[in-house]
Symmetry: C2
Subunit: 310 residues, 2 copies
Amino acid sequence: MKIDLDGILNSRRLAITRALSFVENSDDLDMALTDALFQHLGHAYRVGITGPPGAGKSSLADRMIEYWRSKDKRVAVISVDPTSPFTGGAILGDRVRMGQHYSDKGVFIRSMATRGSQGGLALRTQDAADVFDAAGFDIILYETVGVGQVELDVAQAADTTLVVLVPESGDDIQAMKAGLMEIADLFVINKADRQGANQAMVQIQSMLAMRHPEEGIWSPEVLKTNALNAEGTATLMERLEAHQQFLLEQGIFRQNFKDRIIAKIRNHIDQHVMDQFWTAEKTDVLNGSMAKDDAGRIIPGQIVKKLLQL
Amino acid sequence: MKIDLDGILNSRRLAITRALSFVENSDDLDMALTDALFQHLGHAYRVGITGPPGAGKSSLADRMIEYWRSKDKRVAVISVDPTSPFTGGAILGDRVRMGQHYSDKGVFIRSMATRGSQGGLALRTQDAADVFDAAGFDIILYETVGVGQVELDVAQAADTTLVVLVPESGDDIQAMKAGLMEIADLFVINKADRQGANQAMVQIQSMLAMRHPEEGIWSPEVLKTNALNAEGTATLMERLEAHQQFLLEQGIFRQNFKDRIIAKIRNHIDQHVMDQFWTAEKTDVLNGSMAKDDAGRIIPGQIVKKLLQL
């Protein structure tokens, strides 16, 4: 594909759309796009928003977009959808509500299907964000439904990750605390007018209290919002900006950027080295190694040795 | 570690426990264990049971164990726990209920923490199961709470995967259908005395109806149970056995076994080749490549080239 660098840098819709389609559909996650955009990256602030279905992520995203737009920031939204392998369709769910921003030229909303591609998602998400970054968007908002690996991938691609929960999430919090704790910079208990909001808040805070605060490490915070009537959203935006400020001051924002590029290079090389190693001959030897029945089978360690000597 | 093969083959508790600790704690997922056990593997039937917190997986597991014990089958239970990186503790939750089987010599229950180790989990789970397989256990039951990647890992290590849901899971079904569909051989709607059970059943069935049935491919089924009073569990066990029978007849059971060993070998080699490639020099070059500021930075593609030539 020819990358229309000029079009992207000038934020032309067609150029962006084409680049995004390339990212989404290309089987070959090569370095062409990264190389082309490289000198123009590192400006956008990347925010991830995740949580269980029904937590009100989209309403909250709506409020956040409103806020950013009021500050004249340009916002790109990347909705990462777990896709059914049967239907090929993405789950839009309540995302359509973000429709109010569709007509706003300062907002670009794009769904990305995960296509069951475990490994590639973090890189694809990052590539898509890079397109928006180069196109001069100030904020890139990843939105995803909480389904494990996808969350981790998105968190990896984000500077700040919001985990949105509802007062009833108590059980989920218990069950998923490992995953959530790893990724959340800010916990948001949305629909906080419902019963149990304070309890959920205390539950998270007591989990967080087990951490030892460290110099240069952000201490995650817990906030309450009610996105529908904009309660608590001003404070949320303030804390979000505080986190961004923290990242900038500590040099973490810059380091995130570098780490993402390094991860991309490393992954690309790993892929290449593996492809070089796994010749048709070696693949045949491996797959054929288990052909014999129990008595005649070679010990796995022997197969390893043989393959490494080929 | 010295593997007490004789002890494992004779199902001695201490030998099994030591081998499992080795699997859980070893940083070096080497082939020693696989090599030692290899000729004694391939007999146990591996069943995964997953679903959201509160779906009643443990009660259901209880019923399944009861059934298997009534047929004189020896059962190993591997509880895969998402572990908090802060506390290091595993979430036992309602699993303590399986306590009734703790005193039964024909049942061995072991928790495995995932330790945030994304990649290694499938392999570790498989290694643990291999120990039980070699020790002559007939059934290996993996139990896990539904948190994305862990589910996939467990499904990969299992011959049959049960996804347990409750009547209220409607939203979750929508949101997670991609993931669930990929892994479920049997859907179980537990606590089916609650409202909405039939609706949830129809919802899943209509999702399943989008698939085109294929020769030699199992068509997932939807069942209703109420584990607490054993309603529907007899049918569940019957369908479980039907799936096992199907796997045996189609040669899939055998193929699963081979595929797991092949994946293990492949992963081991990949690890080795990567370790060989990433010398200290290359790692330094990569990490140093982003040290310069924007103007002085080398294009990523150039770094790739340089690293591949080193």
